[in-house]
Symmetry: none
Subunit: 204 residues, 4 copies
DNA sequence: CATGAATGAGTGTTCATTCAT
DNA sequence: TATGAATGAACACTCATTCAT
């Protein structure tokens, strides 16, 4: 009777180490050897559970994206319109160590994708489309509820997404200038602009 | 009797080739050999004029940033306030092939910078501080002229910068969704919001 | 209570799969994994029934040689002298797909044997001695019957064997030049030379 | 001014080591590392002078074949017909250490070719066509001179080639049985058969 | 008896770096 | 000053082998 190993579970265990290495050291430091070392297993075990290095990296991303989506679902449960929008925006900024790691992790793939051109798995590789759609839906919801100012929901969402990722990028590049508090403040300003009632606030 | 070679000039000549390779083939295709081949010199010459590969890449970035600043100076010459702001924002989006290459080039360094933590040359490695300061100055200028809505100029600039880089990122990641036209439209929307007179446009 | 497994029978079953893989894909494609896959068993089972990979390959050869000898016995049953000689020569040429596979299979071992020097199992590894002795015996038989021309039977046999293996080699190396028809024709020519009555045919 | 290395000469120097390793240890022991060790250089130097491992092996073969042809030209200079044929046959048997090494070397490629199917360089990979053509030409020449018995020169040559390679193979596989003296004797018998006057000798 | 998880050495290849010329 | 020969470590990947279950 063979050693009983749950393949899927083992894969996830390994991918957790992959995630850690990539977020900490970057995609180019993520060699088979360094990944194996991080997992605590030998390098051969990675060959066992994944087809090749590309499969490892793609699987790590896929798992990360799945978990992010699950987190969104949890956080947005019970919320609608502007409140949900606010939650989603703030959830996607690197406001704590975990999400900073997450951003760092994802940024590696963005950069890779830009460098190498989209790979065949590209559609699973990008949270962009997923997030922008959610944002647009919530904007539209908020508009219907009279909470959010007018305008094309897709455009508003796209600008929100740009703000989120631009801010995330700058937070990692220059944490001194773009502190976590600053990110929150800037995000709140933007959300304020979108809110029907408060939109005059900043304006004076 | 040494040949009279202007080191600085030769370095710039070499860096131009480096730039070309990186923008064309990406950072990971930029091997010493490929760079040497592009310059037309032997690989040893790169060792001569630069400490190591990192020095080459950092120097290429430094040069690129200098040239970008020069371009800003040219483009903004004679413009002030909102008009200058508009010019600066649009100049920093990847709206033509050259600037797309430029964005790609810079993005390579951002991801490197994020990975490795700030290097000693860090201050020269980031256009962020430079650009955000210019943006803030122009916002303030516009506010004084009554063209731009109120609010902390630094915050407004920071949000503009986030929009610029977020949009740039998405334009490279998903050129289908974020076309050049769309970038312009979104940037104009944002500028419209900042303009005193037009700010109500989108609102209702 | 161990399952009742006939070791020898199981080994032969496994070796049949080994043979199939080697003849089909060549010796270098014969990895433990590919062999295991072909057998339908796990890789561990091969480790169970054989000492190591070398043992697997040597055993496969031994089995193949045994089967070849059995085939000789069948084919030569009832034949003597020149007729038997003719049968034996033609039987050892790669004149159909099965025997081509067989030749390929054996050739893999020849080159191995040449490389590594004779192994301890060497005597079982070579059909040469076996075949040349049979050939010599049949030549002598034919000479006694007055069917075969004179000369040292061992020398005649050795030359016949060289022809057989040289032709086999060339048939695999250059099937265009040394077709199956050509092999038969050449073998018949050689046999004709050995025949007492027909030996003048080609001559003048 | 660069270190002045004659590329072609260095390649030949390296290929001599390649030749030695292959003839001694076989094609599968010929790893980049073992080859480098034999040359006395580091492994990187092989990458310098050859595109990849295939290029190394193919170049080694090509060089060997060129040298063999040159040797033929030298040995056959001034000879014609049967005398030349005799020289060529005997030259292609592993009758001394050098030619034994040569045979061992070539046999590795034959075996590889059989295993893997012909590669794209295949036409340069086989001495068969070259040698068989020379043999056929000399047979025809001998026939015209009345030295050689009748029959299709191509068939006679093909049988001679089979004898040569079959004998070479057996000499390496079983040097005890097929000694160098025996090879000469067997070759002479075959040549005797081809000779017009002596062909009756062995017969009675 | 049988499994397949795990190991780790070995493969071809790439590449930054050094340095004699 | 400039060359490119040479080094050797690092890479992804393959595979025979071991062994807990």
């Amino acid at each position: 009777m063979p050693k009983n190993v749950d393949h899927e579970q083992r894969r996830e265990e390994l991918l957790a180490a992959v995630w850690a290495v990539i977020a900490r050291d970057g995609l180019e430091k993520a060699t088979i050897r360094s990944l194996a070392k991080e997992t605590g297993w030998s390098s051969g075990v990675l060959a066992h559970y994944f087809a090749d290095k590309d499969d490892i990296l793609a699987s790590a991303l896929r798992l990360a994206l799945e978990r992010i989506e699950e987190r969104w679902d949890e956080k947005l449960a019970g919320l609608t319109g502007l409140a949900a929008l606010r939650e989603l925006v703030l959830d996607n900024l690197p406001l704590d160590d975990d999400r900073e790691q997450e951003t760092r992790f994802l940024m590696n793939y963005w950069s890779r994708s830009i460098r190498q051109g989209p790979s065949e798995d590209e559609h699973t590789w990008r949270r962009g489309p997923l997030l922008v759609d959610r944002l647009a839906a919530l904007v539209a919801e908020g508009q219907e509820a009279g909470e959010v100012v007018g305008g094309d929901p897709n455009d508003l969402a796209e600008r929100l997404l740009a703000l989120i990722d631009g801010l995330s990028l700058h937070a990692l590049l220059d944490p001194q200038r773009v502190t976590r508090e600053r990110q929150v403040a800037l995000a709140e300003q933007e959300l304020g602009r979108l809110s029907v009632g408060q939109s005059q606030g900043e304006r004076r």
